[in-house]
């Protein structure tokens, strides 16, 4: 088939379109976007709602505690956790806002998206692992303080060994699970962006 013929066919290919009307436009604009970044943005809102819910729950638990050294410890932890979570949500939100520029050149938008998506995945991975480690250490510290007065049935060094072993196992499980989970969630999309960008750059590098 001649290229001229292809062009003619191409020009005529959309002639059968029926113009879109106002009602249909409204119908479309009321729909939720299914783009990966729109989904991540919606997930962040859900994550924030859960975070606030959990935070309120912990405030309620702490407010019902009797006055002791543990109470002060819990209050400090709660404040620190609240500040850290707010920083995390703020940073993630900023990343998502800057993540795409739909009216920019395709190549620059895809590069932007890839860069920020990789940053986001790293953030998820690091925060997830640090959170598990910190939670475990804090739980251990609380357990240690509360059981200080009790008589020990097992030697102190053995307690520490068990604590470290369980912690290491938990950390490793979480490490590999979050790697697999993040790859399942974002891996394909990241790879797709990389392939497209590679193809766009291919001839330029040669």
């Amino acid at each position: 088939m001649e290229l001229r013929k292809l062009k003619e066919l191409w020009d005529g290919s959309s002639n059968s379109s029926i113009p879109i009307n106002e009602e249909e436009l409204n119908q479309i604009l009321n729909k939720r976007s299914r783009r990966p970044i729109a989904i991540i943005k919606r997930n962040l809102k859900l994550e924030m709602a859960f975070g606030i819910l959990f935070y309120c729950f912990f405030i309620w638990i702490v407010s019902n505690q009797a006055v002791s050294i543990i109470l002060y410890f819990d209050i400090i932890l709660l404040v620190v956790a609240g500040i850290l979570y707010s920083i995390y949500v703020f940073y993630k939100n900023q990343l998502l806002k800057k993540m795409e520029c739909m009216s920019c050149e395709v190549k620059s938008n895809l590069s932007l998206q890839l860069g920020f998506l990789e940053k986001l995945v790293k953030l998820y991975f690091k925060v997830g692992n640090i959170f598990v480690l910190l939670t475990y250490l804090i739980a251990g510290a609380i357990g240690y303080i509360t059981s200080e007065s009790e008589t020990d049935s097992i030697p102190h060094y053995l307690e520490i060994m068990i604590f470290i072993t369980i912690g290491a196992v938990l950390f490793l499980i979480n490490y590999y699970f979050s790697r697999w989970y993040l790859f399942t969630l974002y891996g394909k999309h990241i790879q797709k962006l990389k392939n497209i960008l590679y193809e766009m750059d291919e001839s330029e590098k040669k």
Partner: protein
């Protein structure tokens, strides 16, 4: 929604609807996927419309948004959405039963384009729409030299697929 803004947008979409339909034909595999992609492109155009300052041509802006959407869209397997205007997107089965020579050629054209890579599809679409290499660079962000090399490869590929 601002009524004036909406009317302006609607006029814009109506004037350039063909462009969106072509992108949907090229990037989506079936009627439902085309429907999904059409809606997604319109949503993204609407979101970007506010910031459109006539710094670039309307068609360049539309191509950028539409291609950015098509290239990063998450394809879904099944959907139940059905909107009347999308009936204009020809159903594959309906096409088969009432196919004249031009439709057959058109099918051949789209089937040939579907064998190209995502980037090649974008390049050939702009080429078939008579865009200059300067315009293509403006939309895709790929330099003109690279675009020429790519276009030559694509022509060769298309020639082989359509058996000129």
């Amino acid at each position: 929604m601002n009524s004036d803004k909406e009317k302006k947008f609607l006029r814009l979409i109506s004037e350039h609807e063909g462009l969106i339909h072509k992108i949907c034909h090229v990037y989506a595999a079936d009627a439902l996927a085309k429907q999904d992609l059409f809606q997604e492109i319109v949503i993204q155009l609407w979101k970007s419309f506010e910031n459109f300052r006539n710094e670039s041509k309307i068609s360049t802006w539309m191509y950028r948004v539409a291609l950015n959407t098509a290239l990063t869209e998450k394809r879904r397997n099944k959907t139940k959405v059905s909107i009347s205007f999308l009936g204009s997107l020809k159903d594959d089965k309906a096409q088969e039963s009432n196919m004249d020579a031009d439709e057959e050629n058109l099918n051949l054209l789209f089937s040939a384009i579907s064998k190209l890579t995502e980037v090649e599809k974008a390049v050939v679409m702009l080429y078939l729409d008579d865009k200059s290499y300067e315009d293509m660079e403006d939309v895709l962000g790929i330099n003109q030299g690279t675009l020429r090399v790519k276009m030559n490869r694509i022509k060769e590929k298309l020639r082989q697929i359509t058996k000129v």
